[in-house]
Subunit: 258 residues, 2 copies
Amino acid sequence: MRLTVSFLPSHRLPVGLDPAAATAIVVDVLRATSVMSAALASGARRFVTFESVEAARQWAAGEADHRQRPLLCGERHCQPIDGFDLGNSPAEYTVSKVQNRTLAMTTTNGTRALAAAANFQHVVAASFLNLSAVAQRIRDRTAVHVLCAGTDGAITGEDVLLAGALAARCRDRQGATLENDEARLAAELWRAGCGSATGGELAERVAERLADSQGGRNLQRVGMGDDIRRCSQVDSVAVVPTVIAREPIMLSEEESLA
Amino acid sequence: MRLTVSFLPSHRLPVGLDPAAATAIVVDVLRATSVMSAALASGARRFVTFESVEAARQWAAGEADHRQRPLLCGERHCQPIDGFDLGNSPAEYTVSKVQNRTLAMTTTNGTRALAAAANFQHVVAASFLNLSAVAQRIRDRTAVHVLCAGTDGAITGEDVLLAGALAARCRDRQGATLENDEARLAAELWRAGCGSATGGELAERVAERLADSQGGRNLQRVGMGDDIRRCSQVDSVAVVPTVIAREPIMLSEEESLA
């Protein structure tokens, strides 16, 4: 396996990477890809993602006629959106609320990162919640590119940390070569901050790092610091949100749903 | 002091940073800013930088009439340029070759990073060679932004390492606050890799890290691995290349030359 990392969706693809023959792992730890992991683990049927609030509303309205209506979910500036069913906190996505439901989602950075991965052969979404499940899913792939969402065009530490966890694990357990400096730097940061920890200590270390990151600071500022601990629960779910359709972008646990 | 870092010149400036009231530190460890540090320490009068080979040639031709002709220097794809006087290896910039000379320079990434810093109040160039001299120069500034050159639009570990050295030093010795995740991540990488070393051991650790970076790999591939050791000689010179004019961009040790 050859593994590369981009710290931002806007970065040029690494030299030699052919997206048509590669798997993209989209990372938006705080909080879009954590929400996707939690919701699919709670039995949600699928996510359909949109760049704008209006596009999400329109699509959901069009679907309402012929099946149970989609739930509108997501955030703007970390806050729930007026008239939407759910915000962007993983804890909201309980079985009673989302089982078998379609979720029409719009978030600022996560949606943009998914769009940047549009031309990859396979696309999955990773969070700390499903770290091992993602590593297991990609174990036989030859080219893997981890795409960090960042925040409004700025690199964020929480996404780099998960990229490093994925890079270090693929290198150490599956013999992957880290093919660009972003992959090597991320793996080094993971090793330095969390590499030797396991179990509850690992979740604790991850939570400390997330609280110190830009995304974590933003959440604490608006009173949503509890989400940091929820998004730090390493390997708490076994699902892998996987892109099953492209226009609009849909993700589901089942690769064969589309 | 509030300190921020950009891992690439193309990144958006951090929120809240006003370049007109800030100092930019341009970093291209392998090798443009190391060459500038070495050459000014060898008594070179000034650098004048150009984005293209042709622009450097034309400017040098125009200057040839009324003073000692400028020396043409720089690289393309790590290699010396046909017909130029000097390449991009710091070891070439000896006293006998460059003392009192004007150097018309073009390099791929370093020149681009200087251009990206054009609207900052003050601009200096940093390398491991002049790390302490730069830290000393900026000690009373209130806003400092470290701008990494990268390579062809990709983040490179050698530039991030020096950004981290500057960020960690300003934080630990001058009470600077690190204001974005790029600054915090860089400081963490420096601490993890080199933070506790001093003297010869520090230069050794820096050289190991540079050899493992993308820039270091590129140099070793074209047989220029010796430059890595030369560019790792922490605090071997006391000069600070400083932008003294903007069109074209000129740098000199003397802030008052312009």
